[in-house]
């Protein structure tokens, strides 16, 4: 495999893993969960480093995953009290965890080289150089990891499809037919936390935040069906990966940035040109209605004129 293919494949698999979960977050109004997790893992990284004195990826990922879980479960618990809206709950929890991490670095690790960029907030351009030896076959680590995570997420949402659907759209109805919205929400958020943490290490935080929200939001503009929304989100994720990579190579810019930007452009196109919910379609519909009303009014006036 060429380096280009490995990078695109890593990005595409990451986008798949994230786009399978993103639509549910957008529907549940907790789209910024990815951003929250990206900040909240900091104390986990610091703690893993302090306890085990190593920057081995597995240890760091485990520490980060622990705090990602604390973050999503704390947000869900706060939201569950019914006293704090979900966006405010997100904004209460992740700054606190991030602050803990900063204090930890200041207190214990100020003179140790703990470069966050290289420990967890990975860089996708290095994906081809990180390989694993699997029984004599050399495998690219990020492709393997993100492939497994994407497959697990696919399995999860196929298994829990109707539960996720009913609890996303109508939690009260779900409770009345004995699907616990809390349990389903927790499972979904745990999947988000684990996916985000593994993806940070492969492609970097900002691309994770972007691929979790933007394709799902664009898909939400294009369709009213949940299956179609998930499928479109995955497709947008792949298009962003391929086009973004080509663009980044063309102008020699950050690959993650270019991929995020491509997704944003696709969102812009969907916002303008989506067949039913786009701005253009709406404007056309409104103009057509106005013309029809004017015509009807004119005819009525004409009829009155003829009668008199």
């Amino acid at each position: 495999m060429s380096d280009a293919m490995i990078i695109v494949l890593t990005a595409g698999l990451t986008a798949t893993a994230l786009a399978l979960l993103g639509p549910f977050l957008v529907l549940r109004r907790v789209a910024l969960m990815g951003d929250a997790v990206s900040h909240a893992v900091l104390p986990g990284i610091v703690a893993a480093f302090l306890v085990f004195q190593t920057r081995a990826p597995l240890v760091v990922i485990l520490g980060a995953a622990a705090f990602a879980l604390i973050c999503v479960l704390a947000i869900e618990a706060l939201r569950g009290t019914g006293l704090v809206a979900s966006d405010a709950a997100i904004g209460l929890v992740f700054p606190a965890l991030f602050a803990l991490g900063v204090l930890g670095i200041h207190r214990y690790a100020a003179n140790i080289h703990l470069d966050l960029d290289s420990t967890i907030y990975g860089e996708i351009a290095f994906a081809p150089f990180r390989t694993l030896d699997l029984g004599g076959v050399e495998v690219v680590r990020s492709v393997l990891i993100m492939g497994v995570v994407a497959a697990v997420n696919l399995g999860l949402i196929t298994l829990l499809w109707k539960e996720l659907k009913v609890t996303s759209f109508d939690p009260d109805f779900a409770r009345s037919i004995r699907f616990s919205p809390t349990v389903v929400a927790r499972l979904l958020l745990i999947a988000v936390a684990v996916t985000a943490v593994t993806a940070f290490e492969s492609v970097g935080a900002i691309l994770v935040v972007a691929l979790l929200i933007v394709p799902a939001a664009a898909a939400y503009l294009m369709t009213d069906r949940l299956v179609a929304m998930v499928a479109i989100a995955v497709a947008i994720g792949w298009v962003s990966s391929v086009v973004g990579y080509a663009g980044a190579v063309e102008v020699d810019a950050s690959i993650a940035g270019a991929m995020g930007l491509t997704a944003a452009v696709i969102f812009g196109i969907a916002l303008l040109a989506s067949p039913r919910h786009g701005l253009i379609a709406r404007a056309v519909r409104r103009a057509r209605t106005r013309r029809a009303v004017e015509r009807a009014l004119a005819e009525e006036r004409g009829a009155q004129g003829a009668g008199a």
């Binding site: 957008v26 700054p95 900002i206 929200i213 916002l271």
Partner: protein, 415 residues
């Protein structure tokens, strides 16, 4: 702010940081309510990220790291980002959180692409541009504090002068528009104030602290009041006290200011969510427990009264059988009745005391009134549409209506 800074019994640097954090707290507290109440809490986070391309473009245009032009760039990018958020939310079916997320990730991606582009131009001054936005509260200057104070004063003045307009726009936008409130202007003005506060705050204290400072005061104040006016005032006070406390603590313990303020703020907000009177989690739990207990003891009281009617005073075991409640519940109810002096024990037989008999009759009357309400309530002409309180029908209905209700009940009863 000079006199206030001199007034504090602290060293000059410490007083600047404490006063600065307090002033920032007031501005963020008051303006934060305008972001938190319409569910746009994370606007601070998004603007912190969307300022990055502004900084990069300002650098590209001027070719130098001039603080003033970088700040202007950040502010303009922040404004554009904020208006795009509101625009996406208003013109499409995308909801606030997703709109914020889309703007955040698009602008930050653009910023990264621009920064890598600047990196290839080989201008040596570009180093550290990306850290421009992540300030340090301990590095606050008196000048920053003065700017913050002006913004705080301005935002308080706007909010006080336009309270009614802001209130209608916040709670019911279409109604506000229909009665002639210039909704767009109000939204633009509040968003612009918010952007100004966030951009200045970002530079001074960093993105994460700004996110927390916008949210904590409103979440806390919301637990303590239901009214917008008091909420705004409380949010300002809470913001100031959290900022000042955090700054003082951090300077005493010699640890970074921003994180300490964030942690103090989160602790305050969580405490409010747990303990707020009439609303907090702990309060609700205790209230529910009290209600459940009083329902249980009056139930057991009525069971005992019924059993006494039917035969000789029962033992505890007989009462358990007669009442068809779990043994533990009956014991717990009896203990509560014992404490209130409503029952007497005669060896192992149970009897009602004098006050117990009265209480049992009152409870039975209450029950009869409730079933009368359920059965005949529709025949009463109530003055308003409110449902009466099921625990105290006589008080909420008034004596006259209650007597009529009992009259209906007596009519319908087989003689």
């Amino acid at each position: 702010m000079g006199p206030l800074i001199d007034l504090l019994p602290l060293s000059y640097t410490e007083s600047v940081v404490v006063v600065g954090a307090a002033v920032l707290g007031v501005a963020a507290g008051v303006l934060g309510a305008l972001a938190v109440l319409p569910r746009r809490s994370l606007v601070g986070d998004a603007l912190a990220h969307s300022a990055l391309p502004g900084v990069a473009i300002a650098f590209l245009v001027t070719g130098a790291r001039d603080p003033a032009s970088l700040l202007v760039g950040a502010a303009i990018a922040g404004l554009i980002g904020a208006f795009m958020m509101v625009g996406i939310e208003r013109t499409s079916r995308i909801r606030p959180d997703a709109a914020i997320g889309v703007v955040l990730s698009s602008f930050f991606s653009l910023g990264i692409v621009l920064l890598t582009y600047i990196g290839t131009t080989g201008n040596a001054q570009q180093a550290g541009l990306e850290t421009y936005l992540f300030g340090q509260a301990a590095g606050l200057l008196e000048r920053d504090v003065n700017v913050m104070a002006v913004i705080a004063a301005l935002s308080i003045a706007c909010v006080v002068l336009a309270l009614r307009v802001i209130k209608t726009t916040l709670f019911d936008r279409s109604f506000a528009a229909s009665v002639g409130v210039p909704v767009r202007v109000v939204e633009l003005a509040t968003t612009a104030l918010l952007v100004a506060a966030i951009v200045i705050g970002l530079r001074a204290v960093g993105a994460i602290l700004m996110v927390a400072m916008l949210i904590v005061p409103t979440v806390t104040a919301r637990q303590l009041t239901h009214r917008l006016g008091p909420l705004l005032a409380l949010a300002g006070v809470i913001g100031a006290s959290v900022g000042a406390t955090g700054a003082l603590l951090s300077s005493r313990a010699e640890i970074p200011t921003g994180p300490v303020i964030v942690l103090v703020g989160t602790a305050v907000a969580v405490a409010a969510v747990l303990l707020a009177p009439g609303r907090g989690v702990v309060w609700r739990w205790a209230h529910r427990r009290r209600e459940r207990r009083s329902a249980l003891s009056s139930g057991v009281l009525i069971d005992l009264e019924t059993a006494l009617h039917a035969g000789p005073p029962p033992t505890v075991d007989e009462l358990v059988l007669a009442s068809a409640r779990p043994r533990g519940d009956v014991r717990r109810g009896l203990r509560a009745l014992d404490r209130a002096g409503l029952i007497e024990r005669d060896d192992d037989r149970l009897r009602l005391s004098e006050s117990g008999a009265a209480a049992a009759h009152a409870a039975l009357d209450e029950r009869r009134l409730w079933s009368a309400w359920l059965e005949h309530g529709w025949r009463l002409d109530l003055g308003d549409a409110r449902e009466p309180d099921p625990r105290d029908l006589r008080r909420t209905l008034g004596d006259e209506l209650t007597d009529r209700l009992l009259g209906f009940d007596a009519e319908a009863a087989p003689s």
